[in-house]
Amino acid sequence: SQKIEQNSEALNIQEGKTATLTCNYTNYSPAYLQWYRQDPGRGPVFLLLIRENEKEKRKERLKVTFDTTLKQSLFHITASQPADSATYLCALVGGSSNTGKLIFGQGTTLQVKP
């Protein structure tokens, strides 16, 4: 069956360092992958989308890679700040892309310490 895995353990890093979060998937050939940020008690907010034919995408301090051979996406936050502390979710298109359904990973919580 289709499966998305994100590291369930919280990631703790020091301010200024680069945070790297991992999203692995199996039994899937997604056309694209998305990353969302979720703050406690709030709904997820879309951050970045990367297509299967793109190796890397950047937006300000954020960088996403997509390796369809390894079936893995990496999400990097450079020069991390305490305000980056949140839970980060990856999401893949579920089934036929025109259904609009996304399959979400469970998320990884990032804690950036000053």
Partner: protein, 114 residues
């Protein structure tokens, strides 16, 4: 900016009550979704709708129904609330014509069933 609003941030209901959760989006999106989010289980899709009066079951539809009479409004109904329906409920919308399936989430409703 897309805005998705949910009728309540917090709700407390008794077992057996009928519960209505309302969601409204202001960007003329075709698709709307209802999820529940529980610790350790991530986001799980309850129902989604790709047009007015159209609905499809998600992964966990049991105990829930939905209504979409107008394009901008998608309601989730708990016919007879039970304690195992205590959860965070999130509504989302997306525009499939853009081909990216980015979902825009509301702030969530935290429901407690006593």
């Amino acid at each position: 900016d897309v805005k998705v609003t949910q009728s309540s941030r917090y709700l407390v209901k008794r077992t057996g009550e009928k519960v209505f959760l309302e969601c409204v989006q202001d960007m003329d999106h075709e698709n709307m979704f209802w999820y529940r989010q529980d610790p350790g289980l991530g986001l799980r899709l309850i129902y989604f709708s790709y047009d007015v009066k159209m609905k499809e079951k998600g992964d966990i539809p049991e105990g829930y129904s939905v209504s979409r009479e107008k394009k901008e409004r998608f309601s989730l109904i708990l016919e007879s609330a039970s304690t195992n329906q205590t959860s965070m409920y999130l509504c989302a919308s997306s525009d499939p014509s853009r081909g990216q399936e980015t979902q825009y989430f509301g702030p969530g409703t935290r429901l407690l069933v006593l």
